[in-house]
């Protein structure tokens, strides 16, 4: 085992090391022609060497950039190692990006070679080739449909590989020369350039060094006790930093096997066959998985359905406590064991998670119910907070210290501080080298002494776990100087099913106030049950008893906010229930149903003033757009109500003071 902990500084060197220490252990699997094909580490070395020598003979040199475009398949992962072994830099590109985006990335990265999956990608690259002057050679894996293409600068992977094999067998110097190239590699060499998709402006090329990935991977392996016995399934985009870390860097440093699915459509079936021990997925994958199971259970027989419901209810009661190692009574333990045999086990098998030891979800916030569901089945699912610029890890939840509302403790070797603006900043061995050809953006993001701005606002809770509250640019300050994080407040309000949407105000003001949108379905059915008659949304929203209900929710939300030292100051002092539903047609929401705060502030300026000038009601006229495009005007008198503010509980005050 001591050998498996040996470390070195580049991935090419790890490849040589693994071919020795894990010689006959599987390194890569790929389902092809219906069968899982495997390559051992020794064979993986042969493949990478063949490709590297082949690429060298068509002109690849140290420092060149090589685009890698396609889905998760062994040959593309090998091209990472082959390119790196020669001192060149792979640039994975999102396979689904349109030609326009691709042209920008390929040109900006000045790629000289591109290794792509199939005809689709070849066509895309060729269509923009005139805008990528540096590009000379194009290598494709899947020959189908490409027979009649001009092959002067187009090469089949197979032929490059064969040329490499031939060189290796015929030229006695080729092998040693390649090893010498690998020896030249250093930890501070660039390992990859990853382009971040970025919601604004052009994508930026994040330069990450061999050290960045090697050290992040080693830390990650140690944190989750990953070794050569793990199996993972690689299915997330090659160009995403997470995949590069999990399916490449961690595999090379720990020596575990990476399985590539047959195709994107077969991933669920393939995962079931492989049963990964280490698994990563964004929340929506877990959501889809759960939905598909629930839909199937609807068709199950009555007995099965009863068992399913009964044991799942039991799991939600004690499952998470068991996983966290808390004390659970003997009877509940026994019942959970029976449930494991009858329901949880088969369910996990269906989802392909029966061997999962460590699972992560990240990318966006996961719903607490969803998170708890998986954990209650005994799956060690955790949350992670990371960035491309950090080589993934910023915080991660440690085994046994898991809560759905935080993203965990700082990862090993990561320092975190919260800036005065509330922005989370970090410094770690994973911190990126810089943005490629964009020194200005690098300076804006990374300070002289290595701290990186995440762009997210957050705070540490009393256990030292990090909570992310909002994008930093949306976070403001009350006039008292206290932090004001609108999204956090809005999410606290939206926790109540009666509240569909909320917009919080407070930046530069004395206190926090909010607009509230009722949820017509939830409040409507409540009204029906309570014999409350209403003719329109507007009338229901303005009903005194609805105001009472909402006031109770706001009170409860304030109670919750008061328990967070940083949030206590932004409890909601006044609120109103909006007379119309916020609507994307009126420009109040984005098409993805996110609140457009500035637009709303402008449109309802009078109402905001009324929130702060102490008046108890305000008449407004609002223009609306109907679904057929006609415009109309809604007139309403909106009532404004005061809410009670809670004192910060004494024990929290004490802790915050310490």
């Amino acid at each position: 085992m001591a050998q498996s902990r040996a470390s070195t500084d580049t991935f090419a060197k790890y490849l040589l090391l693994n071919a020795e220490r894990f010689r006959d252990r599987p390194a890569m699997r790929f389902k092809d022609y219906g069968i899982w094909q495997s390559w051992t580490w020794a064979e993986q070395l042969d493949e990478v060497r063949a490709l590297a020598l082949g690429l060298q003979s068509i002109g690849l040199k140290r420092g060149d950039k090589v685009a890698v475009i396609g889905s998760n398949r062994p040959r593309l992962y090998w091209s990472f190692a082959a390119v790196q072994s020669l001192g060149a830099v792979p640039v994975p590109v999102y396979a689904d990006s349109v030609a326009e985006e691709m042209a920008y990335v390929l040109d900006h990265a000045e790629v000289k070679f591109a290794v792509v999956e199939d005809q689709e990608q070849v066509d895309k690259v060729l269509s923009v080739a005139d805008r990528v002057p540096a590009l000379t050679e194009l290598i494709y894996d899947e020959p189908r449909g490409l027979k009649d293409y001009d092959h002067t600068h187009l090469h089949a992977y197979q032929s490059v590989r064969e040329a490499g094999l031939k060189r290796f067998s015929e030229d006695a110097d080729a092998g040693p020369a390649w090893l010498a190239e690998i020896e030249k590699g250093r930890g501070d060499d660039l390992s990859v350039i990853l382009y971040t998709s970025g919601t604004t402006g052009r994508p930026k090329g994040v330069m990450l060094s061999q050290d960045n990935f090697v050290r992040s991977a080693i830390n990650g392996n140690a944190f989750d006790k990953l070794d050569e016995n793990e199996t993972i399934i690689a299915y997330l985009p090659l160009a995403w930093v997470g995949d590069h870390l999990f399916s490449y860097a961690q595999s090379y440093t720990a020596g575990f096997c990476v399985a590539c699915p047959e195709s994107a459509e077969t991933i669920n079936e393939d995962r079931r066959e492989i049963a990964p021990t280490y698994f990563f997925a964004p929340p929506r994958v877990f959501e889809t998985l759960l939905t598909s199971i629930m839909v199937r259970m609807e068709d199950a027989g009555r007995l099965k359905k009863w068992m399913f419901d009964h044991f799942l209810a039991h799991a939600s009661k004690v499952g998470e406590r068991l996983l966290n190692g808390d004390a659970v009574g003997a009877w509940d333990r026994l019942k959970y064991a029976i449930g494991e045999f009858a329901v949880y086990g088969p369910l996990k098998n269906r989802m392909g998670l029966s061997r999962m030891r460590v699972g992560y979800t990240a990318g966006e916030a996961i719903g607490p119910e969803l998170f708890s569901f998986y954990r209650s089945l005994g799956l060690n699912l955790k949350q992670l907070y990371g960035q491309t610029e950090a080589t993934v890890y910023i915080t991660a939840q440690a085994d046994g210290k898991i809560r759905p509302d935080t993203v965990g403790l700082p990862s090993p070797e990561v320092e975190i501080k919260i800036a005065d603006t509330g922005e989370v900043m970090y410094r770690s061995p994973g911190v990126f080298v810089g943005y490629y050809k964009n020194a200005e953006a690098t300076r804006e993001t990374k300070t002289e002494d290595g701290w990186v701005h995440t762009g997210d606002a957050g705070f540490f809770d009393k256990d030292g776990q990090l909570k992310i509250i909002d994008r930093a640019k949306d976070v403001g300050k009350l006039s008292s100087g206290a932090l004001f994080a609108p999204k956090y407040i809005e999410n606290t309000l939206k926790f109540f099913p009666d509240i569909k949407e909320a917009v919080a105000f407070g930046h530069g003001r004395e206190f926090c106030a909010a607009f509230i949108n009722i949820d017509l379905a939830a409040v409507g059915s409540w009204a029906e049950r309570n014999n409350i008659a209403y003719a329109s949304y507007q009338e229901l929203a303005n009903h005194p008893r609805v105001y009472e209900t909402i006031a109770a929710h706001v009170d409860e939300a304030n109670r919750r906010l008061s328990r967070e030292p940083l949030m206590a100051a932004s409890q909601i002092k006044r609120f109103l229930v909006l007379h119309k539903e916020l609507d994307a047609d009126d420009g109040e929401l984005t098409r993805t149903q996110k609140v457009r705060r500035n637009f709303i502030a402008e449109r309802y300026g009078e109402l905001i003033e009324a929130l702060y000038d102490g008046s108890s009601e305000k008449s407004v006229e609002t223009q609306v757009t109907y679904e057929d495009g006609r415009k109309g005007v809604i007139r309403a008198t909106v009532r404004i109500v005061d809410a009670k503010v809670h004192d910060v509980p004494a024990e929290i005050m004490r802790e915050a003071a310490e």
């Binding site: 092809d32 493949e47 189908r144």
Partner: protein, 274 residues
């Protein structure tokens, strides 16, 4: 060194006919049902390696023509020369033996069987072991089954239907069923593949997919294809040569551009009184 099996691409079997030579020659064929003349004195040929389209308005005799070619109907007059052999009548299973495979206008698959089994069924004509061996399912019979399974997996890979390998075809959407049917026909490794309205009832995306598969089958495997199709746009893009039938008669024959501009064809499609 490389455990990935290097399958040689499935190609049309060698039949001694060079690319571009006549593979199928239909000479002066007439077919009638009682008083109804379905086909009147039609001659056409299919060259090896091409995609040949037979088009025409409803009731023009397209499907009858296809049925004559694969031996389902026996014409009253005329001869058919396939791979240099002349014949007048032939049973459909003989047509299969000679290397003619087809798909149907309304999908004719075994609905309760999986995609894999349906395509495997297409290989059954090539199984050499008799039913006794196959029931034993050991030794040579098992080895043979593995060989065939490899070919079938290649087809599954080729048509990109891995995700429905185990799905009963009855549960599949129509577009995919059509693809499975094409897979079953390909499993016979035909010299001539007949496609009866491969794109009928498909949406635009499915049509584009299917067109690509047809072109790939033709180019990658060198399979000669004769197809019937309604969708003029698709036909013109896809085929090397087009023959147009109307009321059982041939009214045009040639490359797509030529056919498109023929006055007779325009009249037939726009409906000029006869």
């Amino acid at each position: 060194m490389n455990p990935r099996p290097d399958h040689t691409q499935l190609v049309a079997p060698e039949d001694g006919i060079a690319k571009g030579d006549v593979l199928l020659d239909v000479r002066n064929v007439s077919l009638s049902f009682g008083g109804v003349k379905a086909i009147t004195d039609i001659s056409l040929n299919v060259l090896k390696g091409e995609i040949r389209a037979i088009i025409g308005p409803n009731g023009a005799g397209k499907t009858s023509m296809l049925n004559v070619i694969n031996g389902f109907y026996t014409p009253q007059q005329g001869t058919i020369v396939f791979r240099g052999k002349e014949r007048r009548s032939m049973k459909p299973h003989e047509a299969v033996g000679q290397g003619i495979a087809r798909t149907f206008q309304n999908v004719a698959l075994f609905k309760g069987m999986s995609t894999l089994d349906n395509i495997m069924a297409g290989r059954s004509v090539m199984m050499k072991r008799n039913i006794g061996w196959q029931m034993l399912w050991h030794g040579p019979a098992l080895r043979e089954e593995i060989e065939h399974r490899e070919k079938v997996e290649e087809i599954i890979d080729f048509l990109e239907i891995q995700h429905i390998r185990r799905t009963p075809v009855g549960k599949l959407p129509y577009g995919l069923q059509k693809r499975v049917e094409l897979g079953r026909a390909l499993a016979m490794e035909p010299s001539l593949l007949l496609l009866d309205e491969p794109m009928a009832g498909m949406n635009l995306e499915e049509k584009e997919d299917m067109s690509r598969f047809i072109i790939d089958v033709n180019q990658q495997r060198g399979t000669t294809i004769a197809l019937i199709e309604h969708d003029m746009g698709v036909v013109m893009d896809l085929s090397d040569r087009v023959v147009v039938l109307d009321y059982g008669k041939k009214i045009a024959d040639g490359p797509p551009d030529e056919v498109k501009n023929s006055q007779d064809v325009i009249d037939a499609y726009l409906g000029v009184p006869h």
